[in-house]
């Protein structure tokens, strides 16, 4: 038998029973479609988390204080210690070779008032290199300068959301005066919106000079975080070690396990979130995979019915000279074609569903070539696996009994 004959037979067999064939295909369509849609949601989430992390700044290492043990041996929560200082930041900038830019921060929440409007938000005291380290750009005015730091200026740079809340959308607030914790600050700029990130949006922060924050708001000379940008992603590990060793020396700590700070690189966060989204993708795909298996069983069920129904035909085909392989190929081709058609339609519908999800819910989705290839090979594989048994059953039929079958 030629391949063309096989294709023709398959076409006739599938079209002879349109309703049953299409219902069987539907099972595979739902299976493949949901696998595609679920993987695209998972990968979309992974992609958006990754870009959020990248938006925090590139090649970033964040140093946060550890917990502090007081004289009475009471240990406070991690991150509350007041052991990091501007001097630490300066030392890092001077002594760690591949640290390109260093931005210490001191942040706390305060009530902010402009005329009749008020809001409660994160006030970040920082320095001019913050712009570089955190990938921030300005839309209006300028950022905090060295001059502002040195002279303890009461100036503020607003996040776009804060600008909208206090002044209204599109209004230029530069030159206006706002009150933070009852102290007057002059607005000198607005930063560009970055959108929400899972790690605190800069859109609703207010930036003031670090020295001003220490002196007038917090009343202490510590900082809450130091962000360091490494020269490149290759030097990140090296920079992290350099910072750790430097700070251990500066803080007079001999045992690294007792360090009163922790340095986390962006890679660490990325790794953690990647493994989280991977788990989510696998979970979603596994759920969708179950419907794919159900679809496969549908194929098997239809093929079994077909073989029984066409027993006499199989007997006749054998009598006129069909070999086992001819018969089994015929039924296998039918099963594979059904799943293949289901696979193609499923990929189209699944991609459509992913597109629809993005369109209506704004959730990021990403259809990768990998998931399409996976779905394709899985559907063909299911056709072969679930078509094999019925095909073998047909091929092994005894022609005499098959011809007599009622």
């Amino acid at each position: 038998m030629f391949i063309t004959d096989l294709i023709e037979e398959t076409y006739f067999a599938i079209f002879a029973n349109k309703a049953r064939s299409s219902l069987t295909i539907l099972g595979i369509v739902i299976g493949i479609g949901s696998v595609i849609a679920m993987i695209s949601i998972g990968q979309g989430a992974a992609g958006s988390i990754e870009s959020n992390i990248q938006a925090m700044g590139s090649n970033l290492i964040t140093i946060t204080p550890g917990s502090q043990t007081s004289f009475s041996q009471v240990r406070t929560a991690r991150g509350t210690a007041q052991t990091l200082t501007i001097e630490d930041a300066q030392a890092i900038a001077e002594n760690v070779p591949s640290a390109q830019a260093v931005a210490p921060e001191l942040s706390q929440r305060y009530q902010v008032v402009f005329k009749g409007n008020n809001t409660n938000t994160q006030i970040v005291g920082t320095v001019s290199s913050y712009l570089l380290v955190k990938n921030v750009e300005m839309t209006q005015g300028s950022f905090i300068s060295e001059q502002n730091i040195n002279s303890l200026s009461k100036v503020a740079v607003l996040g776009p959301t804060i600008r909208d809340d206090l002044f209204g959308e599109g209004v230029n607030p530069v030159g206006q005066t706002i009150r933070i914790n009852s102290i007057n600050f002059k607005v000198i700029g607005v930063i560009q919106s970055k959108g929400g990130t899972a790690f605190g949006s800069q859109d609703n922060m207010i930036f003031i000079p670090l020295t001003t924050a220490q002196k007038f708001l917090v009343g202490g000379d510590y900082v809450s975080t130091i962000s360091v940008q490494a020269e490149s992603s290759q030097t990140m590990g090296q920079v992290k070690i350099g910072i750790t060793n430097l700070l251990l020396t500066l803080h007079n700590i001999a045992d690294p396990l007792l360090a009163d700070f922790s340095a986390i690189s962006q890679e660490d966060i990325l790794d953690a979130s990647t493994s989280m989204t991977d788990t989510m993708t696998i979970l979603l795909a596994a759920i969708a995979g179950i419907s794919l298996i159900v679809g496969g069983i549908g194929i098997m069920n239809m093929m079994m019915t077909t073989v029984t129904e066409r027993t006499r035909e199989i007997g006749l085909r054998k009598a006129i000279g069909a070999k086992r392989i001819d018969i089994s190929l015929q039924f296998l081709a039918e099963a594979v074609t059904l799943t293949f058609l289901g696979g193609v339609i499923g990929i189209i519908l699944g991609s459509g569903a992913a597109y629809g999800i993005t369109l209506f819910t704004g959730m990021a989705t990403k259809i990768s070539l990998f998931s399409i290839i996976l779905a394709f090979s899985v559907s063909a594989g299911i056709g072969i696996i679930f078509g094999y048994y019925p095909a073998q059953k047909a091929a092994k039929l005894n022609p005499i009994e098959a011809l007599r079958y009622e």
């Binding site: 038998m1 030629f2 063309t4 004959d5 006739f12 002879a16 006499r312 035909e313 007997g315 006749l316 085909r317 054998k318 009598a319 006129i320 000279g321 069909a322 070999k323 086992r324 392989i325 001819d326 022609p399 005499i400 011809l403």
Partner: protein
């Protein structure tokens, strides 16, 4: 052309052994028209299955065109059926909802005859089976019983087999159409084809030149049918 020697066939169920064919031997020469007749249970169907290479005998030898085929595998038997034997069944066994031409061309597909030649060969076979040309593109289930059997005969002819085996070919037809079908077999026989006809009706067997009677798995009579010859001679 066909020679069977001491063929036996035993069916075994769990406890009972049924001897369906008991030590049967005969030979059929090329161009013969043989009827195998016997009541139901005589073993004629089993004999036909063995002659048609659909089944292997329990013991004994079967020489088809000089080649011993009694112990061949399933696929080897399929090969012989494909090239050498044409079957006509009582129930016609046409593919439903499929055109007449496609039905007839089906064995050609398994014999790997190029597609371009199939229609021509199928049409030729249909003409020699005596089907009206108007029916060629009809679906098989739109035909009358007589027409269906002609399509089945054409399908049996299409691979130019050396043997045509007909199992109760008139069983599902009224006597008039049955007569026409039998005349078709006689015509084919006159063209030199070897035909074996299996039946339980004596008047049908009379169309053949030679009648082998079976009873309880044994040959009880093997006669040359002179009347058939006379009829033929008169017709000639």
């Amino acid at each position: 052309m066909i020679e069977i020697k001491n063929i036996t066939k035993v069916y075994k169920s769990d406890i009972v052994e049924t001897k369906v064919l008991k030590d049967i031997s005969f030979s059929i020469k090329e161009g013969e028209f043989v009827a195998i007749i016997g009541p139901s249970g005589s073993g004629k169907s089993t004999l036909m299955h063995i002659l048609g290479c659909l089944d292997a005998p329990t013991s004994g030898q079967y020489f088809f065109e000089g080649k011993d085929v009694s112990q061949l595998s399933d696929d080897e038997l399929a090969d012989i059926r494909k090239r050498k034997i044409g079957f006509v069944f009582q129930a016609f066994n046409l593919l439903p909802r499929t055109s007449v031409l496609r039905n007839v061309a089906l064995p050609l597909a398994y014999a790997n005859i190029p597609k371009s030649k199939r229609e021509e060969i199928a049409k030729e076979a249909l003409l020699s089976a005596g089907l009206n040309e108007k029916r060629f593109y009809n679906l098989s289930n739109q035909l009358s019983g007589g027409e269906m059997q002609r399509v089945a005969i054409a399908r049996a002819l299409v691979n130019n087999p050396s043997l045509i085996l007909a199992d109760e070919p008139t069983g599902n037809l009224d006597s008039k159409t049955g007569e026409v079908v039998l005349e078709t077999f006689q015509k084919l026989n006159k063209q030199g084809r070897t035909i074996i006809l299996i039946t339980h009706e004596k008047y049908i067997a009379e169309h053949a030149r030679r009648v082998i009677s079976l009873k309880d798995g044994e040959i009880i009579e093997d006669t040359i049918n002179h009347r058939s010859k006379i009829i033929q001679q008169i017709k000639e």
